[in-house]
């Protein structure tokens, strides 16, 4: 006799949960659907919150600790909501050689946010990527999903000011001392 396991009901009436439900159902509620399930949640909601982690854990019958372990192990998953716009700086080798760290520093000077952070007005999130694979266009950035190549620091800040003004009068970033080491971006 096959016992029908009790299906986990969605945390709210939000229609996006149906997509999550569809993903885990397609994989037969097996535990190996965990990463696929989290991908769908992030695609639908933008990030993974506790409600989502608990729901996926219950739906796949996997301990919450394991779900949390997987969600924090992979860089692609984020547990924090993103800002209105996001800007991803590629920190791959080719972009690094061509000055990606200077761009990160310029953004930090103009907006006071480090990679992985969001501006206080919740307008812009700055993220870093390991490599976008657009090495021919280094240094490359992604502005809300659009890859833009061959950028420099002033052009980058100019593009960002279209979303939100830079803080104070520092709209044009002050020249960065060429001999100074910029911190390399940490993955988020």
């Amino acid at each position: 006799m096959i016992l029908e396991a009790k299906r986990q009901t969605a945390p709210s009436a939000d229609k996006r949960w149906r997509l999550v439900e569809a993903t885990v159902r397609r994989h037969g509620y097996e535990s190996h659907a965990l990463i696929e399930g989290l991908h769908t949640v992030q695609e639908c909601f933008g990030y993974l919150d506790e409600t989502a982690l608990r729901y996926v854990a219950a739906a796949l019958n996997v301990p919450l600790s394991k779900v949390y372990g997987v969600a924090t192990f992979y860089h692609f998953f984020t547990l924090k909501p993103k800002g209105e716009h996001n800007c991803v700086v590629c920190t791959g080798t080719a972009c690094y050689i061509k000055g990606a760290n200077m761009i990160i520093e310029a953004i930090q000077q103009a907006y006071g946010v480090k990679p992985g952070e969001t501006t206080p007005d919740n307008k812009i999130s700055i993220l870093t990527a390991r490599c976008l694979g657009s090495c021919g266009l280094a240094p490359a950035l992604v502005f809300d999903g659009d890859v833009v190549g061959k950028l420099d620091k002033s052009e980058t800040v100019k593009r960002l000011t279209k979303w939100a003004p830079a803080r104070g009068t520092a709209a044009a970033p002050t020249a960065i001392n060429a001999g100074e080491m910029a911190p390399a971006g940490k993955a988020v």
Binding site: Y74, F76, F77, T93, K98, C131, G133, D152, G179, A184
Partner: protein
Amino acid sequence: MTYEELTKIATIEQESSKQYRHSLNVCTAAGCLSSRADQVKDALDKEVARRGLDRHCQVKGVGCMGLCAEGPLVSIENKGVMYQNVTSNDASDIVQALDQDKPVERLRCPTDVPFFQRQEKIVLQNCGKIDPERIEEYIAADGYAALHEVLTTMTPAEVIEQITKSGLRGRGGAGFPTGLKWSTVAKGGGGTGQKYVICNADEGDPGAFMDRSVLESDPHRILEGMAIAAYAVGASQGYIYIRAEYPLAVKRLKGAIRAADRLGLLGNAIFGTPLNFNIDIRLGAGAFVCGEETALIASIEGKRGQPRPRPPFPAESGLWGKPTLINNVETFANIAPILRNGGEWFAAIGTEKSKGTKVFALAGAVKNTGLIEVPMGITLREIIFGIGGGIPDDKKFKAVQTGGPSGGCIPEQFLDMPVDYESLSKVGSIMGSGGMIVMDETSSMVDVARFFMEFCMSESCGKCTPCRAGTAQMHDLLEKTIQRKATARDLTLLETLCDMVKNASLCGLGQTSPNPVLSTLRYFRDEYTTLLQPDDPGHEGNGELVGAGAPAVKEAK
């Protein structure tokens, strides 16, 4: 699907493309798309329609043409003309020039240069020629014919024999003989029972984009290679493990799998033979370590991507404990051509121990950045100064980095060395998956070593101590060196740590993580010693840190 149906699709496709006097191929791979190739394609479409030429002239989105730095690229197939840096405003000039003898000179991209002439294309054969979103075009280019031949005329053992004869080695970096791997999987589990074929498309190496380009430009080639592998080893289920950071490649792969399913080229009873083979896609989630085969398997199983000790190798006990064949994208891309032309044909290309061609992603301080495919055994000088066109802005060549965070920096004295698995490892680097970053005199080697160590430190999965703690300690020592706080003792300590991490780590990530440090210490030791504390006996002069923190920032055009 029968053979007649397959040839019929090919003939119809060839006939319909003959109807057109001109074919305008617009590169729609990710590189050119980010330079707005989609707008160029729309503009050309509109222009052709406006002039009422749509019956003579087709505008087609194709895969990567290689010269990513000059994108968007448009090629006029029958005339052998290529245009570079095309914008949507150029559409009218381009279409107007079609029926004239003279192409648009100001947009012309010279194709008689070494960048195009010196390449030898097997893997990239269809890239830039066929529309990756239409299975018919792949079939018209002899696609799936090798699969049919294999299924109807060869035994699995004969397939493996051809692969062994070809001398093909794994293109993921380590260079394990592919034929040997296949025969191990074929014998695994007593030769019967469930087996899996996995395509490793988790291209996490920063500075490498070969796999992405192949998947975006010619996805069916990978599916055909995997299906042939499934027949040879006796598998019925395949997975493609691909990075979630490559949305376009994922989209095209999904489309390709659907199209192949629909035509019966995947699924049950392929070509009416007993072979059943399905392919599913699994998305990676941004963990470099998942390129390691046992970590990749853990990730497909829905776990954290942590490697486990080998043996048992995945060929004996892999996904869910079953015999599993894992090959890289480029390895699978070589399979169909090998079976179409025979193992001997492939073995005639390349060097004694490294056969065939290799795709490289050429980037960094080099004029022609982009995707290239060269025969094994070509020299680094030919690649960088011939195909690559040399170093821009009259700067001096300093080093070339191959193999990403697992490889090393190769200095000028080895430029005339042939590119093959053995030569590269002899000088302290590795073939790697194909990233090749050129550095000029403004790059500081200590800074480069620190960059890669920072990468390995944050990508270490944390399972074994040598890698988890060792990479962090090495990174701190490099940071200390750059801040001019290190002494000669620290340098010795760094070398000791390199040795320990290299020999005691569990998987390839840890074992190879000291390579960038070791190779720069070997060839550019003076850059380290000039940074040591002035009062230290190991210090040499008060030289400035060469270019550290001030890499050549190329101003946006």
